[in-house]
């Protein structure tokens, strides 16, 4: 994308460069606070990227995607609560659990389409949400504090070090973008896109689209579970609020804001959404008065989100 250096490519390169430089840039500008802000933004970006894989390319609008944030997060929180802090346990559990949940949910949801798909993903996510609310042992509504970050058992790689934590998140973000890019460019990605525009035709050609879509659904769930794992570690706190429908809605908003079915749109969306909230909310507590109309204007005048505005065409309509 960056080869031709379109405006969208330039933004992509700049955002990534900014993300890479923040741990050095922010302290130099005497604003160390922004390190944690950017770490948080990148985690949301990972989650949005994972959502976009199924939403932007597969036409599967999941209104319950934040549930994997919660699953990944609670894997750290609950294991930590029982004094299991080893990352070599926590990480496989977070990934495995996300995959299993995504598989089960996928089998149920993928029977439906359109608004019905949206609502059934919401329903399933709400069930997990209420389950976490009722888990009194693990703090119910109030969540769990995480005393120790996941322990990889080596001093060379210690998440308690904030710089290591930051670049771990950055690396995972790059990794997820790479995986997504490879998927989208592959035959698998083509089937996914084709089935979202005309499923019957693809099936008629003899491709079992259900399996393709299910695999994409599981991959997206695992990626988002990874984001939850990172979020729990960064914030040292998990609560049911992580998988509330508001969070799922925000993920959709970030993705649409940045531009669906573009590789990098969700990242830009997360950056714009969260930076704007951060900045506007420090200026006035009435910041929603500006932020709301801004979102409307983006829809009206920037087809395809911010990336669309910058001339990056969506790969399909």
């Amino acid at each position: 994308m960056t080869r031709r250096l379109t405006p969208a490519g330039t933004v992509t390169a700049l955002v990534l460069a900014l993300c890479a430089a923040v741990p050095y840039l922010a302290p130099a500008l005497d604003e160390p606070f922004y390190v944690i802000v950017f770490a948080r933004i990148m985690i949301w970006a990972i989650a949005a990227v994972s959502l976009n894989l199924i939403m932007g390319y597969g036409g599967m609008i999941s209104f319950g995607h934040a549930v994997y944030l919660g699953i990944g997060g609670y894997a750290v929180g609950i294991l930590g609560f029982h004094d299991v802090t080893s990352a070599w346990v926590q990480l496989p559990v977070a990934i495995g659990l996300s995959a299993v949940v995504a598989l089960v949910f996928g089998v149920i949801c993928l029977r439906t389409r359109g608004i019905y798909f949206i609502m059934i993903t919401l329903a399933l996510a709400q069930m997990v949400y209420f389950l976490s609310v009722s888990a009194e042992r693990y703090g119910s509504d109030d969540g769990l504090n995480i005393l120790w970050r996941s322990d990889f058992g080596t001093r060379l790689f210690d998440l308690e070090d904030s710089v290591v934590m930051y670049y771990t998140i950055f690396a995972v973000l790059l990794g997820c973008l790479l995986v997504k890019w490879r998927i989208v460019m592959s035959r698998f990605g083509m089937v996914l896109r084709a089935s979202s525009s005309n499923d019957t035709r693809v099936q008629a050609v003899g491709v079992p689209t259900f399996r393709y879509r299910l695999v994409a659904f599981v991959i997206a769930g695992v990626m988002c579970g990874l984001a939850g794992f990172l979020q729990a570690n960064l914030e040292r706190f998990v609560s049911p609020d992580m998988m509330n429908w508001h969070r799922s809605g925000e993920l959709i908003l970030m993705t649409v804001l940045g531009g669906t079915s573009t590789l990098f749109g969700p990242v830009v969306g997360a950056v714009v959404f969260l930076m704007l909230s951060e900045i506007l909310s420090t200026i006035t507590i009435h910041w929603h008065l500006v932020f709301g109309p801004f979102l409307v204007l983006v829809v009206l005048f920037a087809r395809g989100g911010v990336m669309g505005l910058l001339g990056s065409r969506a790969r399909h309509d």
């Binding site: 900014l18 109030d142 504090n145 040292r236 609560s239 992580m242």
Partner: protein, 392 residues
């Protein structure tokens, strides 16, 4: 876009460059969402306190920076981070909600700063998670309902029905009542918080259970809504309603406007009331009413106290707030004019204080307010202090 973001970052960086004051206090409360009525009362009280101390603690000038928790633990934690890491405040106070406090506490304490809760008093902070730099200037969540349970015993109530929201403070309130109430709890409903605002199902269950009294706890604007429905269900005449933290200067004007006469005479328990007779309280209540045209709530009283509490410590170390040990020693003494009269700090840094009966009355000008009655629990310490391993 990127340049714009960077530009905006720069603007924010400029606006938040160190202010002129010597001491910066972060104050986290709820400034948006419906619960912002509480945050407004707290902020008004802090501003009044600053006026009364002429924005000075000893020789030092002082400034308060507010953070909005948006009624959400995650957002409250982020607001705390902003105050600690970006605004570089010297200490942090405020906190209405127990869950916000629990999520935010590590941010402040890990930065080696003092954290003073002006309202929330969740049990972990009083017990196993107590910390040498954490103080509470209000009460531990269990204490007020424990006093209420004692009041119920005094009123010879045998059967009780309990309704409360299902979050940490709600659970603490219920646990507190159950701890001291000697009769039988015939029914208990923990409702979804904060979204549930219609209690028709619970009210029908209460009616069917036929208890001698009902205990409820709903903070903020949810309380009046509950009481209205309780009245509409025809229960208020037949089954007396006991509550904690529900009838205060935030809700009573709403009750009065809606003409719900039956709340007059309602009994509750509390550590403070607007008509408590001491010099600091007289000055506070008169000035607050004069400036804002309404009675202060207990949230306001605690916030007012928090500023004087901090002031006493700053003056004890002659403005050298880097002297954490000196500050801590002074905070432990809690020698300042409190609106509740004198009290002591316990070893877990929670107050040991009296809890009084309090009832809803009409003042001489016809406003509904609350009035303090006899002591229910004297010099009361919370039940978690023993779990706190901090050396006294």
């Amino acid at each position: 876009m990127c340049k714009r973001i960077l530009g905006a970052v720069a603007i924010v960086a400029c606006t938040s460059t160190p202010a002129s004051a010597d001491i910066k206090i972060g104050f986290v409360t709820t400034l948006t969402t419906p619960a912002a009525v509480i945050g407004r009362d707290m902020r008004d009280a802090v501003e009044l306190a600053l006026e009364h101390i002429d924005h000075r603690m000893g020789q030092e000038t002082v400034e308060v920076i507010y953070g909005d928790d948006e009624f959400n633990a995650q957002k409250g934690k982020q607001a705390t981070e902003r105050l600690v890491l970006r605004d570089n405040v010297d200490l942090v106070t405020g906190y209405i909600w127990s869950n916000v406090l629990l999520a935010s506490a590590p941010v402040v304490l890990n930065a080696d700063k003092f954290l003073i809760s002006a309202n929330a008093g969740p049990s972990p902070m009083a017990g196993r998670r107590c910390h040498q730099n954490f103080f509470n200037i209000s009460w531990q969540n269990d204490q007020t309902p424990m006093a209420l349970g004692e009041l119920l015993n005094q009123e010879e109530i045998q059967t009780l029905y309990v309704v409360a929201p299902n979050y940490v403070a709600g659970q603490n309130m219920v646990a507190g009542v159950e701890r001291s109430f000697t009769g039988e709890v015939v029914g208990k409903d923990m409702t979804v918080w904060p979204s549930q605002r219609d209690w028709s199902a619970e009210l029908s269950k209460i009616k069917a259970a036929g208890p001698e009294a009902v205990f409820m706890f709903y903070p903020g604007p949810a309380g009046p809504a509950f009481v209205k429905q309780y009245q509409q269900a025809g229960l208020i005449e037949s089954v007396p309603l006991f509550s904690v933290y529900t009838f205060d200067s935030i809700s009573l004007p709403l009750f009065q406007a809606a003409g719900i006469e039956s709340v007059l005479g309602s009994k509750m328990t509390q550590f403070w009331a607007p008509d408590m007779d001491n010099e600091q309280n007289r000055k506070f209540v008169a000035a607050f009413r004069d400036k804002y045209g309404r009675y202060p709530s207990f949230y306001a009283a605690q916030s007012y106290d928090s500023i004087f509490f901090i002031k006493s410590a700053v003056e004890a170390v002659n403005g050298n707030i880097q002297d954490l040990d000196g500050m801590r020693a002074a905070l432990r003494k809690a020698e300042f004019p409190s609106v509740r009269g004198t009290f002591r700090m316990g070893t877990n840094h929670f107050p040991i204080q009296n809890f009084y009966e309090r009832r809803v009355v009409q003042d001489t000008e016809g406003n509904w307010t609350t009035s303090v009655g006899p002591v229910v629990l004297e010099d009361h310490q919370d039940p978690y202090a023993g779990e706190c391993a901090m050396e006294g």
